[in-house]
Symmetry: C3
Subunit: 679 residues, 3 copies
């Protein structure tokens, strides 16, 4: 990414550019307007397979040559996409086995997007050919700044190619049928396999089905897509290895384990469309941004956002005035090194004709264009923040195996867990209290943190259990909520008592899990006499070494413990055995964080004032965002600084009007603290 | 239709007669009871294919000969149906390709109705054979009064025959693949076709799909069914051309463009089952009736209604005492020349065994029979009104391309438009204010009207835009509501600004479409200080030549215009940029209508008193219906007249008891005004 | 069953035992803990096909030999299952035609349970082979006490094997196509069949379909599964005929007509999982228990219940302390001779890993184990009640043909009837008033009863009509609710008036059925001036010989009759023409019961105190259960007795703490009354 960062200079600004939708004269206008708006990077060719290879093996690169040259002449760099997310009709019509088979047995036909089976050999063969042709032609084009491999990977097929690939994957994972039968617990329901070819992808579960089979299929699908990415990556790298290669992820996307993916690419990139119709969509967005930054521990690429409304939902709200700018700075504050959009110019037809664009149907007269142009003009003011790092003392677990275990395997005491929502519920109070937060996976190094938050981690592997144990023994604080540690990576209940892996950590065993009856709520009493509300779930807890922080004051478990604390080595574990109401969860989390000696970035600021800090080699950048559209906020600052956006010095405080933004540059507070300069 | 009208004499009264369900002795009782009830027309043979052709090519007409003779002897005319809506099992079992393939790829099997692919050559071959045999045998039977081609056309198949026929249809529409690719905007998402045989019917949209492909498929399905109709029509006409040939339509039916269909048949006919469980079902019914009348600008046939409850819904309410009579007169008031039912005698078995009949399971002792007999006895009193015409100064757009554009193509700013409901919302205040209303399509002659109402016409073709322009330039008033004029017939956004086709008409451009956030409402202020409520949608309007009639007093667009008026030539355009609450929409519409100099049929009558007027050569017939079941209404009348139903002279007024009906005959108010005698 | 009862001695206690899930050392612990808990019967091998026959024809009985011997050595009897509900993958993978085809045409794949087409010849062949092998090996094993044929029969297939078998079944039922065409009313909608091979199973009804075809298919599916049961039963009986052979039923299970099934097996057995999340789940449970007892008129086997929560629902609540014991005694009070569970030891993996077990994941330290152990220890105290009979003067119709007619055939005036709920609504007031209740079918002997309750019996056959007539003529009281007697067994409306079969019984005809409009309710006035509420439905009643007990005071049928009484011979009929609100239905039922001279088991006890009586040869056992978890109940008793549970003499009364149970033994009140000693 070094070359790329050097080339771009500050933050990348631009979007998906699809010139094949427009006649030649429009291209000149496009480049002129891009320059006017400060665009320095466009993504080219995402949907261009049919335009580049109109029939098998015949390539028509002339138009793209011209576009690349035009852009280069305009000083605009290119993120060149392999177009393999949208195979042309000549491929799917000639070879229907390229198409994915859905869970219900039907084939997903041509006419949408992502209509390929990632395990199809023929798909991979054709994808390799067009990728090779592109790499051969453009690897050394002076406009080329980045490779964008395909798009939003995740296609899933339940058909024959997937069956073959799934069996291979299982053979590699388990080695023997015996081991697979053990892992899948096939001794139950007479499901023992006696030959590899008896194993099929799971079909739509009409009643109930083997939960480990489903779990492994999710793992396989992520890997099958990753294999496609790696194939294309290796092709383009074989032509030139100093251009960063990546693909773009999605918001809370269940079908690909991005921790595994991130290690395979040169940078992390995200497409995200927070719903402007939801008042607090920025909270989940922030978690996604922190996740993206944490995946590789470095700045990331905001690859797609919308300039306004989208076209994929039943109701597609606009981004109201000022919101697009605010959301863009939010991503930057959480570590993004770019502000990119889908797409540059609004389409006249096709499914996404009402998806907003940098240049809308109403052209430069439009409010959206004016906000885009203003932002493009403004961003260079904070260019020095690009590439800067960050530091957090708190980490929240966000792991795909934990997700899949909780939501994809069925047969739980209750089966309506919503993992992204659970993670967001635990993250929100930390964000709103102005704490810096990383996310971690089972495999992460926890030693960098003072507090680790583990929400509803039903499935955990042994390595994570060991890591948590070391973390707490070494003085860390673990906050863990109910129904955690229950099963191993095979989805087998850990014996001899719940919560299996975490029994020693929490200092208690749990006899039973009590999902709430309809509309049931509980009142809790804390040691200090205060009360708290909860609902949805109760662990029936029997403390062993733990102390009780709160007990049930009502209900069938009245008098029994609800929240525990336990000492493990030099560390501390807070265990929450129920679903706390929001303020109670906030208090519990913030008490634990405070007790662990973690300070927020700001004190006394309201929850709607968001604060994040990026740290460069010789400066810190405090991003301050006022999410309220009615309240002005005054933020006292201890260090002297300058607000790069307004260009004014901070005189002990910054005042932010509704929806306003400030990026306060100051000297680093710590010598060689958490932040690091990347690239 | 002349011969038919002459033969029937007044209004046709009767229903579907399915004697093949009953033993021979029942037939005599049927004819006797029909005579007792005043039946003069029955529809025969709709479900009789298996009874007429028990094996391929072997016909058993003897029973039908006998029924035809019996009916003729009883003085009852026959509307003879071709039985092709319900192919026998020997056809579908021997040739499963006759069956339609559903959107999800499954075949729609035997055992229902309408189980045929209209594009199946084998279906058409067998349909032609039975039609030919019927025509040959009965064309000159003295009972024959009308041909009823098949039934409720609309079957849709996504299978192989449809693929072939769809490609042929597209080839005829577009001429070249190049033109199709342009129209379908296949430059997006890599969807370019390079050969006709790559094009398939759209499958169930699992994510999103090409919106113009879906739009064209709706057009194709309508035409494919129409081709079936035309084939059978031509066969029966080849035997004798003085018998009217028609098929029956359905209420708000999305799958056939009845404007196109109406031109191909000798009269329009409607099957309608307003839900007796809904208090205002008569409003949507009235719109359907006006639509039927407008399709050919002449009286139409009410082909099927229910004597009481139906059997197709989850809960099937009865028609309470007096409601069936009231609803029958309503259809007549809106131009129907018949009162016909499905069906004559209630079936003992089969799916529709609880669908009500003229002769119910409980026979002549039943309330329903008694109401039927009373109505059949009463109708001759108004016989002279049969065949009379009508006149309206107001037209509401109801066009299938507008419908499909708004609801079948996806990817809109919001995707929960309900076209029939939208049309009904705009129609209701006009009906309740006692205005006569026609409906129009894109291709209609608008010069006959003073006011044209265009609700949410997202997709409009160029010809309609031109017609609206000429209409307003010539002094007409156009009332148009939000999100209109946006795309062309290919579903391409009209550039360079919204609302594309209508920008000059409304005198403003629209920058963005703002669907409402959940539960969001707006308050509007009019120039005179009054206020109005709205919700669901806001156009972000920038007036050019328009004046502002109302502005937003709340919300993010506070102070911005909500309702405009614009002068175009000698005409006026009122543009409504939001979804007005019902009374505000009513006031806006009625103000515009009044300003255009259109008077209602009645002043000062309550909304539940419905008034319609039919105009004959030398008399006018004012139909007055009291929809209230508790309130008596006194209607002052200016002209002298006689209530044909009661036989009493109107003495300056008519008083209508709850659920009462009057048909007031008077001298025509105008010399050779709007009304015309048909036939 | 005599041998079995003699062997077990008192009540059977135990559950499903799946040792194939566990390593050898666990087996010893299992037997030791079983002995500690008082287990005397386990069901072995339900899921063991793959473990017993790992490849076609190769059997591995060694492990089962060992388990059988171990259990026998521990004094525990075995209910040996044929494992045919879960075919191994080698069977389904080698022969996919063994798998059932679902209603939508998709195949139900391997990986669930019950994945077989009962009409598959290959399935039957393999099922016969493993059954034969088991019978040959274990018929004379000393541990063998009972044969458990397969499990929860009910698989349904719409594929080719079912088509062939369905045609055979229809040929046997109807004899000729002519008769089938008449029964199916194929003269409607052109559905006449001209060859048997044209008939297929009904597909998913995309619009509407032939209701008698659907009805017959339900009948066929029940019989097709029964044929599988009979085949296996005959095999095991051919080896030894003194071991009882049965299969296990399910709660309110629509897919098998258990009246037909019960006659084919040696005892009735039930699997039941009342939802602990529902406060009144014990009412429907009681009805199921009475149904089980009535099927053969003798004690039955509670084959599966849960020790705590299950895993099949979205939210699986636990059984709170004391509830499992209470529910177990409830089953015994209603005639069960066993308390058995699924399963003995909680699985570590697989779909049901969180289904509770006698020995939970948390082992003997768990609350559940402690309650199991206590119950197992307590049950021998009431051993003498095992095998005892019962007597009831009241019977409620619960018939599968009535069920299927009302809910599976579509096209009714309303189509949201819930038969189990309707039956429960009529049963609840009788249970809560401490009446003993049997259930009856169309074919039952009614002469044993004083009152028969017939809820919403839309479809009734002629034999039942005759039986009801004889019953009332002989002095019985019939209480019948609306929409009864309407159609015959072919689903044909009985002419010439509603309610067809029941017109003479109720002394009235019904002109029309009026489903309620949305939210409509009615007020009724009784002769004594009191009022009652109703909703949902009104029969439009015309009394002939009947007297009016209550009339509508509101609504369109104001003044018309709602509840009738009629005298038939020496008997009385009460007819309820609407859906009464719960207290009104209770009063109407209890009035009729009292007028018929039927006394409850208890007077003045609250509804939450449940009372049932079992009658042995020389003692009566009054089961008293306090379902309240807060109220203590004192029950006065007239006869002297002893509470077998506590071992204390009743001194004119028994006092029951919340959730408490008493089983009061006393001398029989009647000489040779209703009760009988079975076996």
């Amino acid at each position: 990414m070094d070359t790329f960062r050097a080339r771009i200079g500050g933050f990348a600004f631009g979007g998906d550019y699809n010139p094949e939708q427009w006649d030649r004269p429009v291209w000149d206008e496009d480049v002129a307007l891009m320059r006017r708006a400060g665009v320095n990077l466009v993504t080219l060719g995402v949907f261009a397979w049919a335009s580049l290879e109109p029939e098998p093996g015949r390539f028509t690169f002339a138009w793209m040559d011209e576009v690349m040259d035009l852009l280069h002449a305009g000083g605009i760099s290119v993120d060149l996409a392999t177009p393999t997310m949208a195979p042309p009709v000549w491929l799917t019509h000639g070879h229907p086995d390229v198409l994915p088979v859905m869970e219900d047995g039907e084939t997903f036909g041509f006419g949408n997007r992502l209509h390929f089976d990632p395990a199809s050999p023929r798909y991979r063969e054709h994808a390799a050919r067009i990728t090779t042709a592109l790499a051969e032609r453009y690897s050394h084009h002076p406009a080329l700044a980045m490779w964008h491999i395909s798009n939003e990977y995740g296609p899933t097929s339940y058909g024959g190619h997937s069956a073959v690939a799934f069996r291979d994957w299982l053979r590699r994972r388990y080695g023997s049928l015996e081991a697979l039968n053990d892992a899948w617990y096939t001794r139950f329901w007479s499901q023992r396999y006696t030959s590899w070819d008896q194993i099929d992808p799971p079909e739509v579960p009409r009643t109930w089905s083997n939960p480990t089979r489903r779990l492994d299929f999710k793992r396989f699908v992520s890997d099958a897509n990753l294999a496609c990415f790696r194939m294309e990556r290796d092709i383009v790298r074989s032509y030139r290895d100093d251009i960063p290669v990546l693909t773009n992820y999605m918001r809370f996307y269940k079908h690909a384990d991005y921790w595994t993916w991130a290690a395979e690419q040169d940078a992390v990139a995200l497409d995200i469309y927070p719903d402007p119709g939801q008042d607090d969509a920025h909270v989940a967005a922030a978690l996604n941004y922190d996740l993206m930054r944490s995946l590789r521990g470095e700045p990331w690429i905001l690859m797609e956002q919308a300039a306004g409304g989208v076209s994929q939902w039943k109701v597609n709200n606009v981004k109201r005035p000022g919101r697009m700018r605010l959301g863009s700075y939010q991503a930057l504050g959480h570590g993004a090194d770019s502000v990119l959009y889908f797409q540059w110019r609004a389409s006249r037809g096709g499914h996404e004709r009402f998806h907003s664009a940098m240049l809308p149907h109403s052209g430069t007269r439009s409010r959206t264009w004016q906000e885009i142009e203003a932002l493009g003009t403004e961003l260079p003011r904070i260019a020095e923040a690009a590439g800067s790092g960050s530091h957090a003392d708190i980490a929240v677990l966000f792991d795909w195996n934990a997700w899949w275990g909780l939501t994809e395997t069925s047969g739980l005491p209750r089966n309506d867990f919503d993992y992204p929502r659970i993670a967001t519920d635990h993250y929100r109070p930390l964000l709103e209290a102005h704490h810096a937060v990383d996310t971690v996976s089972f495999g992460s190094d926890l030693s960098r943190y003072k507090v680790v938050v583990v929400p509803n981690a039903y499935l955990v592997d042994d390595a994570f259990t060991d890591a948590l144990t070391r973390f707490t023994e070494n003085g860390g604080t673990l906050v863990c909520s109910f129904f955690s540690g229950v099963v191993d990576a095979h989805n087998h209940v850990r014996q001899p008592a719940y919560p299996g892996a975490f029994r020693a950590l929490i200092g208690a065993y749990i006899d039973e899990y009590w999902p709430a009856r309809p509309d049931e709520t509980y009142l809790l009493t804390r040691a200090d006499g205060t009360t708290a509300a909860a609902d949805w779930w109760q662990d029936s807890i029997h403390p062993e070494s733990a102390r009780v922080l709160a007990s049930y004051a009502t209900g069938a478990l009245r008098g029994r413990p609800a929240i525990l604390e336990n000492t493990v080595g030099r560390g501390r574990v807070v265990y929450i055995g129920t679903r706390l109401e929001a303020t109670a969860l906030r208090d519990t989390l913030l008490d634990a964080v405070a007790a662990a000696g973690v300070s927020p970035l700001l004190d006394h600021a309201p929850a709607h004032l968001e604060a994040t800090r990026r740290t460069g080699e010789d400066a810190e950048f405090l991003f301050l965002l006022n999410h309220s559209d009615t309240e002005t906020v005054r933020v006292p600052l201890t260090a002297d600084g300058i607000d790069l956006v307004s260009g004014t010095k901070t005189d002990g405080a910054v005042e932010l009007a509704p929806l306003a933004v400030a990026v306060v540059r100051s000297e680093p507070r710590r010598a060689a603290g958490g932040g690091r300069r990347v690239g």
